[in-house]
């Protein structure tokens, strides 16, 4: 079981309120991703759940029991740190066995579980090495191994992939998702990378300055961002957000249109503009188009077959059914 409920949890460091009172419901077996810009309080929130930080107000409930004052060890949660936090003087085997040893399990049971975990994580050949003799990806797996042997109620990950190179990150992302499917244990995963959030999550929690902006499935956030912050944060490349007359014509202060929902054409369309920088990814090409109607350039996604030179004049037409409209406070107008 790993159901976590935050009830008006808040956190202040001195006079600074990093997290204003916040409610959040995490169901058993869910993969929840906290995403938001740097410094928005993701790590702090995770540490509050883990018990490494004391809450300034509110309650943390784990499986319906008040865990607010329970020590981190007794909450039954396991955490994977950004720096991995492996014990450098212990072998991989001892690292993974450490929580079991602390729990007072007997030696044979410890060995059995370590070997099992090593098997799952492809670490069998490295059990007698020290962490210093492993690559970044292997260290990452040891840290995960140390978490899974405890059979915790929930896993907490704090930007576990940020120290890995791009290729390895994609690989580990899949492995963690795979692990989640197999163990079906609650996982809370912190990242500032919206691609990680979109690909892994059952439920995304978008945070901004300690405030939950929106909670929902990846596709909900993509199709129905509830305000301009979420709209700009989710999706890659970013959604085009424009204001002014053109927005007013749709009865909104701000309108948002994703790069993939704009048609680019050489001869006709709604907005006239000139092509600026283009980014070729092979399959797709992103054009930055300067339109007469808007001050900022629009990003447009086109198929990789489309070729347009710098300075070419083009026409853009948005798919109006996919248009997002926001009022003057940035809230979504349905």
């Amino acid at each position: 079981m790993g159901q976590i409920h935050l009830d008006k949890v808040s956190k202040c460091f001195g006079d600074v309120e990093v997290i204003p009172p916040l409610d959040l419901e995490i169901e058993d077996g869910e993969f929840v991703v906290f995403v938001g810009p740097s410094g928005c309080g993701k790590s702090t929130l995770l540490r509050l759940i883990a018990g490494l930080e004391d809450v300034s107000g509110g309650q943390v409930l784990i499986d319906g029991h008040d865990a607010t004052t329970i020590s981190p060890a007794k909450r039954g949660l396991a955490m994977v740190f950004q720096s991995y936090a492996l014990y450098p003087h212990m072998s991989v085997r001892k690292n993974i066995a450490f929580p079991l040893r602390m729990a007072g399990l007997d030696k044979t049971e410890q060995d059995k579980r370590v070997v099992q975990a090593a098997d799952v994580l492809n670490l069998t050949d490295y059990l007698d090495r020290r962490p210093g003799q492993l690559s970044g990806g292997q260290r990452q797996r040891v840290a995960i191994g140390r978490a899974i042997v405890r059979e915790p109620a929930a896993f907490l990950f704090d930007e576990p992939l940020s120290n890995l190179d791009a290729a390895l990150r994609v690989g580990m992302r899949l492995e963690i998702s795979e692990l989640h499917k197999r163990l079906a244990t609650t996982m809370i995963y912190v990242t500032h990378d919206q691609v990680e959030a979109m690909t892994m999550a059952d439920k995304i929690v978008v945070l901004n300055a300690g405030v939950v902006e929106q909670v929902g499935s990846p596709l909900e956030l993509y199709h129905q961002p509830c305000n301009t912050f979420v709209a700009g944060f989710i999706g890659s490349p970013k959604m085009n957000l424009v204001q002014g007359e053109e927005a007013a014509s749709y009865n909104a202060t701000t309108i948002g249109i994703r790069p993939e929902h704009v048609m680019i054409s050489k001869d006709n369309g709604l907005w006239k503009g000139t092509v600026g920088v283009s980014e070729h990814l092979g399959s797709d090409t992103f054009f930055h188009v300067k339109c007469d109607a808007f001050s900022a350039p629009l990003t447009v996604r086109a198929s990789g077959a489309v070729e347009l030179d710098y300075g070419a004049s083009v026409f853009l037409s948005p798919d109006t059914s996919k248009l997002h409209r926001f009022d003057q406070t940035g809230q979504r107008l349905s």
Partner: protein, 288 residues
């Protein structure tokens, strides 16, 4: 950059320093070796010629030799144990956030700046004096008979004085080591269910191993040649005569330079034995 040319140029430029250092070390060492094979009594005829291994045999067969070696080892060992143990405790304490941290840290380092002679005298007269000392007053306040520290408990007193002097050094080095411990490691251990004592034993202590080794090795070098503290407190009486002090007595009090030099050579051998032993026991902590 390390071409043949630049390497020979570097050698040439380092030469003066190397030669000076070699001379600095080799000259006294050779002098000691040469004198140890001579009968040399400055006030009773000066150089009286070669005597072979006579001085060596006499130095060892003197009834003061083995007690001096034992005393030296007890003092060094005692001070090492006390400074490392208390140093770890103090470092842990100083690492906690507290009010007036800066001042407390300076106060803790202070004893290190007091000259050994001065600290020896201060301890002898202000703390351990059986009539006017602080400890005597303390005993009397509790109605007990004051202890004659420097005569009845001479060795423990000496170890106490020297430990007081070296505690700041150990604390300082161990404190920097504790501060370099990754806080996420401690938090990970906390989540893994390790209590405060387990965290200390399995995370903090192994992390401190290297710093502790450095403290032990450096202190040993200096403790083997402790002199001023003994000179001003007991003057070698009441079983506080270390090897260094015995050599001093032979050379200056008995005016026998040859015998003292032979003692000096024994001191070098003892220091090397201790170093060998320490490297065997704790040296592996220095490997990365």
């Amino acid at each position: 950059m390390a071409t043949q040319h630049s390497r020979s140029a570097a050698r040439l430029m380092m030469a003066p320093a190397v030669i000076l250092l070699l001379g600095w070390m080799l000259l006294p060492l050779t002098m000691t070796l040469v004198l140890s094979f001579k009968k040399y009594l400055p006030l009773r005829g000066g150089d009286l010629g070669w005597v072979g291994f006579d001085n060596y045999v006499r130095f060892v067969s003197s009834s003061a030799f083995w007690p001096a070696v034992t005393t030296t080892l007890i003092v060094v060992g005692g001070v090492l144990i006390i400074t490392v143990a208390l140093g770890v405790l103090l470092a842990l304490l100083l690492d906690q956030p507290m009010w007036g941290q800066g001042i407390v840290r300076i106060l803790v380092i202070a004893p290190f700046f007091v000259m050994p002679t001065v600290s020896g005298l201060v301890w002898k007269n202000m703390f351990m004096d059986p009539v006017n000392g602080f400890f005597a007053h303390l005993s009397k306040a509790f109605g007990a008979e004051p202890i004659q520290w420097l005569s009845q408990a001479s060795l423990p007193s000496l170890i106490m004085i020297i430990s007081w002097q070296w505690l700041p050094f150990a604390t300082l080095i161990l404190l920097t080591a504790i501060q370099s411990l990754d806080s996420e490691q401690v938090e990970a251990a906390e989540m893994d269910g390790a209590g405060a004592i387990s965290r200390f034993r399995f995370i903090v202590l192994p992390h401190l191993a290297r710093a502790m080794t450095v403290v032990v090795l450096i202190q040993t070098i200096f403790l083997l040649s402790v002199f001023a503290e003994i000179f001003v407190t007991t003057a070698g009486a009441f079983g506080t005569k270390t090897l260094t002090y015995l050599i001093f007595q032979r050379v200056l009090e008995s005016q026998n330079v040859g015998l003292g030099s032979a003692g000096g050579v024994y001191a070098i051998i003892l220091a090397n034995l201790v170093a060998l032993f320490l490297m065997r026991v704790v040296g592996k902590n220095l490997d990365a």
